[in-house]
């Protein structure tokens, strides 16, 4: 069964700190790894994504680190802000399969003042 394992389940970080969320996958055929951000009562929205041909992708304060040999990838939020408080989902996909994303179980991030 295709799975994406995500940790931690919840995370509390002080304002200005670094938030790190980790994911591991099993299917080596996955070739697209997005992160989605979800605020309470809303649907998830694409935050940042990476393909396995690069080891890192950075967009503003958000960085994905990708380790193909370990089948792991992580989201780093630098200078975390209270507005980053949300649930974050990692996911994995096999391009060309009608976007049947396999999601992790989510990490609830709380950034405190």
């Amino acid at each position: 069964q295709q799975q994406v394992k995500q940790s931690p389940q919840s995370l509390i970080v002080q304002k200005g700190g670094i938030s790190i969320i980790n994911c591991a996958y099993e299917n080596t055929a996955f070739d697209y790894f997005p992160w989605y951000q979800q605020f309470p009562g809303k649907g998830p929205a694409l935050l940042i994504a990476i393909r396995p041909d690069v080891s890192e992708k950075k967009e503003g304060r958000f960085t994905i680190s990708f380790n193909k040999s370990a089948k792991q990838f992580s989201l780093h939020i630098m200078d975390s802000q209270p507005g980053d408080s949300a649930t974050y989902f990692c996911a994995a996909d096999l391009t060309g399969t009608a976007s049947k994303l396999t999601f992790g179980t989510g990490t609830r991030l709380q950034v405190t003042l």
Binding site: Q6, Q9, Y32, P34, Y36, G41, K42, G43, P44, A45, L46, A49, F89, D93, T95, G96, T97, A98, S99, K100, L101, F103, G104, T105, G106
Partner: protein, 111 residues
């Protein structure tokens, strides 16, 4: 620009009652459409997806069904709700294979 509409936002239904959730997409044609369910601590579970009118694929066997009567309309139904059907239901669409756009969701409580 493309938009997705999902309603209702909240719904409280008794056990054994029917269900109909509707989702429509504007500003695009021939999208892939999806129904996800989100339960606490269990992430996003894909229930159904559709690549065209009348084409429905089920990912998880259950007492729910989906239909796509029009290109940009996706409906989630049940004849008799169970307590375990409670959850946050999300409709989503995509054109590019990688990017999903989610609706604002329906919080369903079955009592």
């Amino acid at each position: 620009s493309q938009t997705i509409h999902q309603w209702p936002a909240t719904l409280v239904q008794p056990v054994g009652s029917p269900l109909s959730l509707e989702c429509t997409v504007e500003g695009t044609s021939n999208p892939n459409l999806y129904w996800y369910r989100q339960a606490a601590g269990r992430g996003l579970q894909l229930l159904f997806y559709s690549v065209g009118i009348g084409q429905i694929s089920s990912e998880v066997p259950q007492n729910l069904s989906a239909s796509r009567p029009q290109d940009r309309q996706f409906i989630l139904s049940s004849k008799k709700l169970l307590l375990s059907d409670s959850g946050f239901y999300l409709c989503a669409w995509s054109v590019r294979v990688e990017k999903l756009f989610f609706g604002s969701g329906t919080q369903l409580s079955v009592l």
